[in-house]
Symmetry: C2
Subunit: 338 residues, 2 copies
DNA sequence: TTGTAGGCGTTATCAG
DNA sequence: CTGATAACGCCTACAA
């Protein structure tokens, strides 16, 4: 079943069918009706490969996600897909393996599927300006931004200020009287990763408040409960007088909380815990975990918005910075004399 | 940059370039080398639209997921993608909106992208045999199976026996002495959904053990902590002498646990809770939640295996049924006289 | 308002 | 071994 068949069966020319399908050009009402009937009857679906090949300018939008299992991304992905579909654009999700270069993957994909836009979610910051320039179609970095070395004029982003929000979290703990605050995130913390930005916020807060930075209070871990659990247990075993933990994600925070509770300690009486992201699970943990909650849905929405502004050339590259919210649910407590 | 350019620059014919790229047919070593260099230098990537258009038989594999935010699916998705990529096939994930017909979407996608195989994850059971027959390429239903009315010879599946496993969970609670066991899942429970299969298992266990079925103990809820929380709270407020809850998913179980704990009750001393799926979060909840753990990774692996067997025509349709495991972590307890 | 024909970038079938 | 050349299914001037 191709356009030729439909044309033959409907007793019209190929271009007429094309016009009907694409709602382009003038076609008499009767002809349109007739063609549409045949299309429906034979269940005809245009071959998008041929369409894309011809038009060179497909309407494909891709989402490149690094860490598709991240629960914080789950709702965002759903929202992004909804928004893209709403605009009538085909949408495809591409998972980027940890360790592979998402920009390279995107360049490849863009050529292969001739995409008209890309949204990046997750991943690292360290891409060179020339790499970005190879990506000749509009794209938006969501959740991530780039190093300062890259000209902000050549890319768009929708982010939160990771450093400031982590600073906020740490400061909150300090304001509650905590002095020995553990930090859990994924190493290497030297790199331009989200984890590192949060780490820098943590350090900045300590410094500003005149608290000593103790590398022994910083533990490496993956963004998962199991890893958070192990890292927190290590931290507890160090006997460093730990009274609070700042986890770089809620998934880590949950694992850390489990470690604390398993050790027979109480949250927040013995140890205060605060996470980051604002996933649903953190709220339904017992006790509910404090967190820095990112406006995921808004960020998703706005990412698609920025991308389509770019595609329709209604505006140039934009950088939108959202505020995250410190949610106090009771897992952090003012420190008291023991 | 297209194949013609590469041919011109390398000083060879178009077909030679094609042969080099696809590693097909004979090409002298020097020519191959020369072409390969040009390809690398100009960063040439074949247009897959043209390839697919020509070959009619692409190597695209699609995963159609209903409920991409389901944390139980997260690891499975990752594993499936890994396995498909390992075999050198392009892979695309398509989210299916709740409420839309995944088979229709698949038929469309298969034509558009001329796929060579599809894996379905999540969704309902009630598709007609003729619908399946419209899907002329190999496909595997993972996590889901179809109604008995559909000839098993026309589709493949990788599943667990939902009914039996739910029966196992309920029976476990009964064996601990529980009589008033609440059940939480998504309605309508009349439909051929996963939730319904688990519901039937719950009912069957009650019946076999001679316990009365009480519709008041069954509460409708979505597969999320918040919904589980609300449903469990309703259940508790009914004062039906509830001593145990069987939640149709771990996400629900977590919400239900929160409701129990928030009410000032203890798990498992006052209320026993068991979930379903075996997600990481359930283990790191406090207390760790008992669950029926599905072998997600194995199922993912085996789904891809079955699909490729089908594609390479090494075997016909298969139906693989895995066993789930009842994990006892302490959230269920023998009932004691009060 | 409608049909014809050329070409999008590939692959595959042939002769050379 | 290599190079024309005809499709693949569709869109789009351009002609009718």
């Amino acid at each position: 079943m191709n356009i030729k068949d439909i044309a033959r069966i409907s007793g019209v020319g190929i271009s007429t069918v094309s016009r009907v399908i694409n709602n382009k050009g003038l076609v008499s009402k009767e002809t349109r009706e007739r063609v549409l009937n045949v299309v429906k009857e034979y269940n005809y679906i245009p071959n998008s490969n041929a369409q894309n090949l011809k038009t060179t300018q497909s309407k494909n939008i891709a989402l490149m996600v690094k860490g598709i299992t991240n629960p914080f991304f789950a709702n965002m992905i759903r929202e992004i897909e909804r928004q893209v579909n709403l605009r009538g654009y085909p949408f495809l999700i591409q998972q980027v393996e940890d360790g592979t270069d998402e920009i390279n993957a995107a360049i490849q994909l863009a050529k292969e599927k001739n995409l008209c836009g890309i949204i990046f979610m997750g991943g690292t910051y360290n891409h060179s300006e020339e790499k970005f320039k190879q990506l000749t179609i509009p794209f938006v970095l969501t959740t991530i931004t780039s190093t300062q070395q890259v000209d902000p004029a050549i890319f768009s982003s929708v982010i939160i200020n990771e450093l400031r929000e982590a600073y906020k979290a740490t400061n909150y703990l300090i304001s509650l009287g905590h002095r020995n605050i553990g930090f859990l995130a994924k190493s290497p913390l030297l790199d331009e990763t989200t984890g590192n930005r949060r780490y820098l916020g943590y350090k900045k807060a300590l410094e500003e408040q005149g608290l000593p930075y103790d590398a022994g209070l910083v533990e490496d871990c993956e963004y998962s409960p199991s890893s958070g659990f192990n890292a927190a247990r290590k931290l507890l075993n160090k006997n460093k007088g730990l009274t609070a933990i700042f986890a770089a994600s809620d998934t880590i925070a949950i694992g850390a909380a489990k470690a604390v509770l398993t050790a027979g300690l109480s949250i927040p009486d013995d140890i205060s815990i605060i996470g980051f992201d604002g996933i649903e699970m953190a709220e339904y943990y017992h006790p509910s975990l404090d967190t820095i909650s990112q406006p995921g849905t808004e960020m998703a929405l706005s990412s698609v918005g920025v991308l389509f502004d770019l595609i329709s050339e209604q505006s140039g590259n934009q950088h939108i910075v959202y505020d995250a919210v410190l949610l106090k649910r009771g897992s952090c407590k003012m420190i008291t004399a023991r």
